[in-house]
């Protein structure tokens, strides 16, 4: 039922790029809170609320660490809380650290969902769009690495019988060089098999199971409009020497609303599809 992830890889890539870039470069706690909220809600839908709740501890620790560390290194700001060696530790720096922490945590939550949603097939597709050869190389590496690991394990276990009169390091090195030789040998077969199937012919095509549908177009269009509004109307906070919140005007409020909608899109998408599914099942 994971419908958001079934969107076209380019659509997904654009969306996550929007969100992550905006989260990292905009030091406005209002936007960041919205971004974090959207990311957490979506992660909760695709990974389960329990998993996400458990992840809070780690992320909160990271948030605290960043928030507390910043005032120790930055002494700007008018409100001195205390002094360390004649350098003031200020409220402004603490707040700035907290906002920085918020930004990083929000970006990390988006990355979390991105990882979940963007599987190797989507990577292969994106690389393939850049160049068909690159897509193939990516796919070959994904096959090659597990083969290599397996072969290393097999050789190591086969070498157990002769283990006693060799050092551990030497044995590992021996196994490793054997793995490399074997994979080179097998590489000859692979390259034969590739040549036999016409690898290297001009005009290589690209197969993918993805289709850029109207749905993707609409979705991407809406996201792009919301993103533009959010960007144009965005007003920042000032932190030094005094904290000065953003100005509230019609435009800036619109921008905040647009961004809020943008960050909730994946969550709404999932929930809407879930409800649709239930309704369609109940009709049967």
């Amino acid at each position: 039922m994971n419908t958001f992830r079934n969107l076209h890889p380019l659509t997904l890539l654009c969306y996550f790029a929007f969100m992550i870039v905006f989260s990292v470069f905009n030091f406005n706690p209002i936007y960041l809170a919205l971004s974090l909220f959207g990311a957490v809600m979506y992660a909760a839908v695709i990974q389960g609320a329990g998993v996400v709740l458990r992840s809070f501890v780690g992320y909160f620790a990271m948030f605290l660490l960043i928030a507390v560390t910043n005032p120790l290194f930055s002494h700007n700001g008018a409100t001195a809380l205390f002094f360390i060696n004649d350098n003031r530790v200020t409220l402004e720096a603490l707040v700035y650290g907290a906002v920085l922490g918020l930004a990083i945590v929000a970006a990390l939550y988006w990355f979390r969902s991105f990882n979940e949603v963007f599987d190797s097939e989507k990577y292969r597709f994106i690389f393939g769009r850049i160049s068909p050869g690159l897509g193939l190389v990516f796919s070959m590496i994904l096959r090659f690495v597990p083969e290599l690991v397996r072969s290393f394990r097999d050789i190591k276990s086969a070498q157990r019988a002769f283990g006693s009169n060799q050092g551990r390091v030497k044995r590992y090195l021996g196994s490793f060089s054997a793995v490399i030789t074997q994979s080179l040998e097998n590489g000859v077969i692979t390259s034969d098999s590739m040549n036999a199937r016409g690898f290297g012919l001009k005009h290589r095509g690209l197969y993918s199971r993805f289709r850029f549908t109207l749905y993707d177009g609409v979705y991407l269009g809406v996201a792009a409009v919301l993103f533009s509004i959010a960007c144009i109307g965005a007003r920042g906070f000032e932190y030094y020497p005094y904290i000065k919140p953003m100005e509230f005007s019609a435009m800036s409020i619109l921008s905040v609303c647009a961004f809020g909608a943008l960050s909730l899109i994946p969550f709404i998408f999932e929930v809407k599809e879930g409800i649709k599914w239930r309704i369609s099942v109940s009709r049967i």
Binding site: S139, L142, N186, I189, S193, M194, G198, F199, Y207
Partner: protein, 526 residues
């Protein structure tokens, strides 16, 4: 129409004095199923590779190969890739990409087809080969049989006129091999694809062939229909690889039509309504080499049990074969006996610590650049064993350059240098032809005669029937039946050798071709 016409083809590898192929004349009709047989090194692979521009070996070549009337060398690259498919032995290394669907699409992408065309073809061929359920799977996790089917599917997706196959089932277990050959036969029947296939295990494929090409020392010895080959082939090494029914027919000099299948063979044997039987060789031995009692094993805490209350007793100097299908836990069992993994319940009692383990891929035993270095790293007094195994001439070679039979021999030699009392073998006959199997079997018998206990897991039933003292069937994590070899295969109705199937109800305990022959001759003499 002719697909291939080969005129006086001779070929010599660089730096070699002997011709790998000499004066070959052959004509392959469109839609023909041509089976190429011959000992290892008889030039089968060389001949097949000559038929594919991309894979043709370098060397001195004379004569001509015509593909549909034109010289094959003048075939356009795209045409060559598309129209002639090639499948090799090793199921793993032929696979290029990480997912099943992307593997099937690989050739089509190379041909530069439209995305929609590729999409349709991939779907079509995945369905045809029953790979639907595997469609999104990672290729690394497929079984050997599935891998080879995938290779076939990805070649077929390019819609070739001809498929050339070089021992495609030699690395597969018998069930997977039959499945693969059936798929191949179906392709031949359904689409009229020309099939040229080299094989050395003929029991299942022989009946499918339209024609059989027998090769010997790089030349064609005989090329005729399967039945004619049975009739005409003189006694030579190749004749021993024919299906059991055909071999028996040759022995009996019957006037009937030569039989190719067990069904036809039973016609032949039915007239011996006699209760001659092979007496069961029973081994009296009380010294236990090792025993397992109620052993349970799984790889991870939450994974399924591989061994479930497994019990086994093996006596000293015994040759014990564990047979069973893929995934029944055979390899795991060896790892357990080898000490690489540990059971979580039950007891394994080893009387001796000197256990040597021959992995499925014997190359894994070698880590040095020459055999000599490898042997030296184990024990300096290796010359004696080398002489016995007849390896003196190979000492300077790289282990990976050895042929299958040589490799198996050297691997055993290296293991014996550790002076083992128990020898564990994992599929030792994989990829060996019938003669190499015989050699290996005799060698193992010799070793067990010297008091070395041998446990061999295999799905090669003929091998087990011929050389093992006792056999056990491993199924669902335990030994479900166990007996002395002849009784074991006689009692099994399906999971048994071709000879046992053929002689069922006629000669008791005849489970190998040798047994069969003994019975037939004994009856004749009376």
């Amino acid at each position: 129409m002719e697909d291939f016409r080969i005129e006086n083809l001779s070929f010599k590898y660089p730096k070699s004095d002997e011709y790998a192929l000499s004066d070959i004349k052959l004509c392959v009709k469109s839609g023909e199923f041509l089976l190429v047989i011959g000992e290892s090194g008889s030039g089968k692979t060389t001949l097949l590779r000559m038929l594919k521009n991309e894979l043709r070996p370098h060397g001195e070549m004379s004569g001509e190969i015509l593909f549909r009337g034109n010289n094959i060398a003048s075939l356009d690259e795209r045409e060559s890739a598309k129209r002639i498919g090639f499948i090799m032995q090793d199921p793993d290394s032929q696979i290029v990409s990480d997912r099943v669907y992307s593997e099937i699409s690989f050739g089509l992408e190379n041909l530069g087809l439209e995305k929609e065309v590729i999409r349709a073809r991939v779907a079509e061929f995945a369905s045809y080969f029953g790979l639907n359920a595997e469609f999104e799977r990672s290729t690394v996790t497929l079984s050997g049989g599935q891998k080879q089917l995938l290779n076939l599917a990805s070649v077929m997706a390019m819609e070739p006129d001809v498929i050339v196959l070089d021992e495609p089932t030699s690395q597969l277990d018998p069930i997977a091999a039959v499945e693969f050959l059936d798929a191949l036969k179906r392709l031949n029947d359904d689409f009229g694809v020309t099939i040229i296939i080299a094989e050395h295990h003929l029991e299942n494929i022989y009946k499918y062939a339209d024609r059989v090409l027998c090769m010997e020392n790089g030349s064609v010895r005989l090329c005729d229909s399967p039945r004619e080959v049975v009739r005409k082939l003189e006694d030579c090494k190749i004749a021993y690889t024919l299906p059991v029914s055909a071999r028996l027919y040759r022995e009996l000099n019957d006037k009937l039509n030569p039989p190719l299948t067990i069904k036809e063979g039973r016609e032949l044997i039915r007239k011996f309504k006699n209760d001659y039987y092979i007496s069961q060789k029973e081994l009296k031995n009380e010294n236990i080499a090792f025993s397992c009692r109620e052993v349970w094993f799984r790889y991870e805490k939450n994974s399924a049990d591989i061994l479930k209350g497994f019990s086994l007793k093996v006596y000293r100097g015994e040759f014990y074969s564990v047979v069973g299908e893929n995934g029944c836990g055979k390899s795991t069992l060896l790892k357990l006996l080898n000490g690489s993994v540990k059971q979580y319940r039950g007891r394994v009692k080893q009387e001796s610590a000197a256990v040597a383990y021959l992995p499925q891929n014997p190359k894994n035993l070698f880590v040095k650049d020459t055999l000599e270095d490898d042997f030296k790293s184990v024990d300096n007094s290796y010359m004696e064993l080398c002489r016995r195994f007849n390896l003196q001439n190979l000492l300077n070679r790289h282990p990976y350059d050895l042929s299958g039979g040589e490799l198996e021999r050297t691997a055993l030699c290296k293991l014996l240098l550790t002076k083992p009392e128990v020898l564990l073998l994992d599929e030792p006959t994989k990829g060996l032809d019938a003669f190499k199997k015989q050699e290996l079997g005799k060698l193992l018998r010799e070793l067990s005669g010297e008091g070395i206990t041998i446990v061999c897991v295999t799905h090669d039933l003929d091998f087990a029937a011929e050389f093992a003292d006792r056999c056990g069937l491993l199924f669902d994590g335990e030994i479900t039946s166990e007996n002395f070899t002849n009784a074991f295969f006689t009692n099994n109705s399906f999971y048994t050798t071709s000879s046992a199937k053929l002689s069922k109800g006629v000669f008791r305990n005849a489970v190998t071709y040798g047994d069969l022959l003994e019975c037939v001759k004994a009856v004749d003499r009376r």
